[in-house]
């Protein structure tokens, strides 16, 4: 059995040798021209004049293109993959992110106004600087919290409001009643900070148009090349069968590389106009500005408890940032992944949430690792922490009293979602032992007596992973069918190529998909190759996001392999003159049960293609495809626990310990699983302590445009992690596997913030917004001192 083994990754050697093939590394037999963009320096302005004459005459310049050219060419826009809808079912006030400014108004810093295509990158950049754009500045707002205030400038005046839509979910009356009757009510304002994925590989695109054969090709840093192909039908109106989208090695995605970005459409447009391949590779500053941002919810929450700390109900009112435009998958957060998950790992009888989505003059917000669930966990867990502290109940004990007990599974939450399996009390028991919780509390008391500030943070949650099923996700708003697909092709020599509609950009599918296929096919893992990320070689697919690939594409591999085996058994039975049911397949050989009669899988494969002696109703060939629509999402769960030390002199936070106990169902490769958890945790730590996409409130200028200003964690900022696991089977797929890609980012921000609040509670500190920088912590302590005096 390969499944369950920590097999080292089969894709690693090329990366270790510097032989990875990323978009920037692609060479073609024609010289590649380069694109550069003129971007708005203003948060909100009318574009009154664009003068391209001087730029167009500069050395090496092949084309200078503006929104007027885009409109004249009849091109369109990147419509929503997961568009918002008002609760009434009416269309929301949607304004999709334009590829290039076409209506004479720029609504956030970084919006593209013009493109230059030139022979080389320096010539393109030189010419872009020579384009003169006249702007008439307009008042701007980048702050989510105030976006609906009466005197706030409107991002899209035609709508008459900055509100995109309102959505409400849960049990309104029951929640109000629960809060009214509660023994204790905790109220906290819990904004989540605006962050961005900051994958180490900047976004990059290469477009090519073969005029003679009327074929288009795009190489893209994308997680879902088939969805890119689908939305090129909207932007450049290219029929799907004419376009090949290749996502080669991609250097991290985290959800952020899921979209049909402006630059992606524009480089192909440039390639068509110039009849030359055109490439753009984002600078880090362009990416920190133009990559989708994430989170940025402004939430007020109220949670009611009975006298024993049992949660009776919780109510949230959220303003959810959209930025200047609706990004393609935005509603997957506001209308699907956020509200559904607000019960976390707790048995909460009444929950009500209202989300008002708002436009601001900032970069569009979309999904980033966790997508709505980090916000949900932060919002709920901050309530629970403060509630426990206020009521004088040990925070772990209060949580334990509220966990969903195992006998309640499948458990339907107050928001209507049903968790198929899990056992939160077991996770809590394990993490309590792993961290030696009672000893930590004793240490905390001892250190506090010495004037040192130690805090213990906890978060406990469920994740909704593995999108679809198709119908469920359609019902939640997805305009793409959330299936995935795989083909298993047995070559006549018995070797195998697996084609999958997923895309690996760090997840290790070449290893894990091969582990699954090798087990089903009874073959050596080295006899299997995987193809992903090329729409000409893998005709359909939905891609890798939302911790879905294992329970969709991975299960398609599983199913297609089983179909191959079933067909091969019929051929083998014919050759061996027995019944298919009498055959076992293992180690590359068919064996007749109870005998020593054997026939190699390779011989059967060869005969499947090249022998005329076969069952009359058995088609030639040995290749099967499975379009896999899972029976359910998967619901992985986890509990995190951390220890933070806050320096009383500098207010700097040291994250001393971090433990996580995960339930991700069946594990394919524990090494890969741990890598996913570690990586997610560090991104969550970044959100809690240092990361923020900051705007100047007055000017709307973006302040986080370099890695000197946007701080992501270094090795020295994080500890080694202590992990444990407990497995309950997922019910929606045959392997019983659950998604595992997002647990870290979902749980860590709440856990760490609870730890910092726990460290400072005795000083009167009740809430500090993320990221919890030394300056904010110092201010919170000073404010608390003033309040108490």
């Amino acid at each position: 059995m390969y499944v369950g083994q920590a097999i080292r990754r089969r894709e690693d050697e090329r990366f270790l040798r510097g032989r990875g093939r990323f978009v920037e590394d692609i060479t073609l037999d024609q010289p590649i021209a380069h694109a550069a963009f003129v971007r708005s320096p203003h948060a909100h302005a009318a574009v009154t004049h664009v003068d391209t004459a001087q730029a167009a005459a500069m050395p090496g310049v092949l084309a200078v293109l503006t929104g007027a050219d885009w409109t004249a060419a009849g091109h369109g826009e990147a419509e929503g993959v997961w568009p918002v809808k008002d609760m009434s079912g009416a269309d929301s006030r949607t304004a999709y992110r334009p590829l290039i400014c076409v209506d004479g108004v720029v609504r956030c810093v970084g919006e593209i106004v013009a493109m230059v295509v030139a022979e080389d990158r320096h010539q393109a950049l030189d010419a872009a600087e020579a384009i003169e754009v006249a702007y008439e500045e307009k008042p701007a707002n980048t702050i989510t919290a105030g976006a609906l205030d009466p005197d706030i400038p409107l991002v899209h005046p035609a709508f008459g409001t900055n509100e995109v839509m309102v959505t409400e979910h849960g049990l309104k009356e029951e929640t109000e009643a629960a809060l009214a009757n509660a023994h204790h009510v905790t109220e906290v304002v819990v904004p989540t900070n605006r962050v961005t994925a900051a994958s180490m590989e900047p976004r990059a695109y290469l477009g090519h148009y073969d005029r003679v054969n009327d074929r288009y090709t795009v190489w893209t840093t994308n997680q879902a090349p088939h969805i890119v192909r689908r939305y090129f039908t909207k932007s450049l109106h290219i029929p799907e069968h004419k376009l090949r989208v290749i996502a080669p090695d991609v250097g991290g995605g985290f959800g952020m590389k899921l979209y049909h970005y402006p630059e992606e459409g524009l480089v192909l447009w440039g390639a068509i106009v110039c009849d030359r391949p055109v490439r753009w590779v984002g600078t880090r500053s362009e990416c920190l500005l133009g990559d989708t941002h994430a989170r940025d919810h402004h939430t007020v929450g109220r949670m009611g408890f009975d006298e024993n700390g049992k949660i009776l109900g919780v109510k949230f009112e959220t303003l959810a940032a959209f930025g200047a435009y609706e990004s393609q998958w935005q509603a997957s957060i506001t209308n699907a992944y956020h509200f559904t998950m607000l019960s976390l790992a707790y048995d909460i009888p009444a929950i009500h949430t209202q989300v008002r989505a708002v436009y601001t003059n900032a970069t569009p917000v979309d999904a980033y690792r966790g997508a709505g669930r980090p916000e949900a966990v932060y919002q709920v867990e901050r309530m629970i922490e403060n509630g426990a502290q206020e009521m004088g109940i040990d925070p772990l004990e209060l949580r334990a009293r509220n966990l969903i007990p195992p006998e309640k599974f499948p458990y339907q939450t107050a928001l209507g979602i049903t968790y198929d399996s899990g056992d939160p009390p077991v996770l809590m028991g394990k993490i309590k032992a792993l961290a030696d919780y009672d000893a930590l509390r004793a240490e905390q008391a001892r250190l506090r007596a010495e004037g040192q500030w130690m805090g213990i943070g906890i978060s406990a949650f469920f994740d909704m992973a593995g999108a679809g099923p198709v119908k469920m996700m359609n019902d939640l708003g997805a305009k793409v069918g959330c299936y995935d697909v795989a083909s298993v092709r047995v070559h006549p020599d018995g070797r195998i190529t697996v084609f999958a509609g997923s895309h690996s950009h760090g997840q290790g599918h070449e290893t894990t998909w091969s582990q699954i296929a090798a087990d089903r096919l009874g073959c050596d893992i080295d006899h299997i190759d995987l193809v992903e990320g090329d729409t000409d070689r893998v005709p359909m697919g939905i891609g890798t996001w939302g911790s879905r690939s294992l329970s969709t594409a991975g299960m398609a591999v599983y199913t297609a392999a089983d179909r191959v085996v079933a067909k091969a058994k019929r051929m083998a039975a014919h050759m061996m003159e027995c019944a298919p049911e009498d055959l076992d397949l293992a180690d590359g050989e068919f064996t007749v049960k109870g005998t020593d009669r054997k026939l190699s899988f390779a011989a059967v494969a060869n005969a499947s293609y090249h022998s005329g002696d076969r069952p009359s109703d058995l088609e030639i060939g040995l290749e099967e495809t499975s379009f896999f629509d899972p029976a359910d999402c998967t619901y992985p769960s986890a509990i995190h626990l951390c220890v933070v030390l806050v320096d009383p002199e500098t207010c700097a936070v040291t994250l001393r310990n971090y433990w996580a106990v995960d339930d991700v169902g069946t594990v394919i490769n524990p090494m890969v699983l741990h890598g996913q958890v570690h990586g997610g945790l560090v991104q969550g730590i970044g959100q809690a302590l240092m990361e923020e996409c900051a705007y100047d409130a007055e000017s709307g200028q973006y302040l986080s445009g370099t890695f000197m200003d946007y701080a992501i964690p270094h090795a020295e900022d994080v500890p080694s992690f202590g992990l444990d696991a407990h497995f309950t089977r997922a019910l929606g797929n045959p392997l019983g596997a659950k998604g595992a890609g997002e647990s870290g980012t979902i749980g860590a921000p709440a856990c760490i913030c609870n730890g910092v609040i726990d460290a400072l509670w005795h000083l009167g500190v009740r809430q500090i917004t993320q990221p919890m920088t030394p300056k904010k912590i110092w201010r919170a302590i000073e404010d608390a001192k003033r309040t108490q005096h």
């Binding site: 690693d12 040798r17 320096h122 180490m200 090795a715």
Partner: protein, 161 residues
């Protein structure tokens, strides 16, 4: 300013030459003129370390160095780290310990670790964390990289004895 000059240097033990405008970065020169695309550019402002190469034995940000500044130097890049049939102990250890996921930061991380182990053959875990804090990785969470560098150091120490 834009007139190209010929830059001659030794890369991975071989004498190489290529044309570079004075403003061309060493990273771009390695990638575009010499075809060594294993050196990656993650931020082009000297923070992420993805472009790290060794110049005369010292780790350098090739995005912060002009190609003309590298004339006459000895440069080592990821392509020169392993042999045809074998890999450097650091490459082996990164493979065994899962010290990479997407692989984009990996070449720079490896070259940084090469410099560490050549100057500090027996580093503590804190030494390793400090040394690789010059480089950003967004996938791994660093723990497996630290473990990989430690494992490689132990193996190289064993081989040296």
């Amino acid at each position: 300013m834009t007139t190209p000059r010929t830059v001659e240097l030794v890369v991975n033990g071989e004498h190489r030459a290529g044309d570079a405008e004075p403003r061309m970065l060493l990273s771009d020169f390695l990638r575009e003129q010499l075809g060594l695309t294993g050196t990656h550019v993650g931020c082009e402002h000297g923070v992420c370390g993805a472009c790290t190469v060794l110049v005369n034995g010292e780790a350098a940000r090739s995005c912060l160095m002009l190609a003309v500044q590298a004339a006459g130097t000895e440069v080592r890049t990821i392509e020169g780290l392993g042999g045809v049939d074998d890999m450097h102990p650091l490459q082996e250890a990164f493979w065994e310990k899962h010290g990479l996921q997407c692989g984009f930061c990996t070449p720079g991380m490896l070259m940084t670790a090469v410099e560490l182990l050549e100057s500090t053959p027996n580093p503590s875990l804190d030494d390793i964390r400090e040394a690789i804090s010059s480089n950003l990785c967004r996938c791994t969470g660093y723990q497996t990289i630290v473990e990989a560098v430690q494992a490689a150091a132990e193996r190289m120490q064993g081989e040296a004895q």
